[in-house]
């Protein structure tokens, strides 16, 4: 694996995109999707950097990323459950004080 740097750069770019979405999007589900993109960027960077040595990838980042995927799913489920309860309690789908126009249709 000689062009691992493509994946490292892609992971960094995905992390930046997820940060942009987390800050710029108002809808709660968009925020959760952006957090998932951030996590995927970090995982790509980890496994990409684990492929530097010739002769096969490093198994330690793979184990870390395998654990991280499971933790990400648990975190996503918690966030979506909180978003659903928030909508039940307030009728809002964002963190502003008024319903957002144009999003979430």
């Amino acid at each position: 694996m000689s062009n691992y740097l493509v994946y490292v750069a892609g992971g960094a770019l995905l992390y930046a995109l997820g940060t942009y979405g987390l800050l710029a999007r108002r809808h709660l589900i968009h925020k959760v999707i952006s957090a998932n993109f951030m996590g995927s960027g970090v995982f790509l960077l980890l496994i990409g950097l684990g492929n530097r040595a010739e002769g096969g990838p490093d198994p330690v980042p793979q184990a870390m990323v395998l654990t991280g995927i499971v933790v990400t799913v648990a975190l996503t489920a918690l966030g979506l459950a909180i978003a659903k309860r928030y909508y039940t309690a307030t009728g809002l789908t964002n963190l502003d004080d008024e319903p957002s126009g144009g999003e979430g249709r």
Partner: protein, 94 residues
């Protein structure tokens, strides 16, 4: 030859992520996120970790997509604004 494939795959990942974040309709955004998970599984296979690819395809694309589609359906159930005179958590059991 494989360098072209790598660049194309990473470009596809970035393009799908940008499309999912620039989409205002929630359902389309979630579907693009599921497609992103499948392309991510291809990237894991290319990086030589098939177990992570299997976990990503099953969990990252399947379970997370199902959770998000469920949340989108739950947020679409009530189109009118929430009535202010009724107390909170009145339909907490659905």
């Amino acid at each position: 030859m494989m360098a072209v494939f790598d660049i194309l795959l990473v470009g596809m990942l970035i393009w799908i992520a940008v499309g999912s974040l620039n989409e205002n309709r929630l359902f389309k955004s979630v579907v693009m996120f599921i497609v992103f998970g499948l392309f991510m599984a291809i990237a894991w296979i290319r990086l030589g970790s098939p177990d992570v690819a299997l976990a990503e395809a099953a969990i990252g694309a399947g379970v997370t997509g199902a959770l998000m589609l469920d949340a989108v359906g739950h947020l679409r159930k009530r189109d009118t604004p929430y009535p202010a005179e009724s107390g909170p958590m009145e339909n907490a059991d659905d």
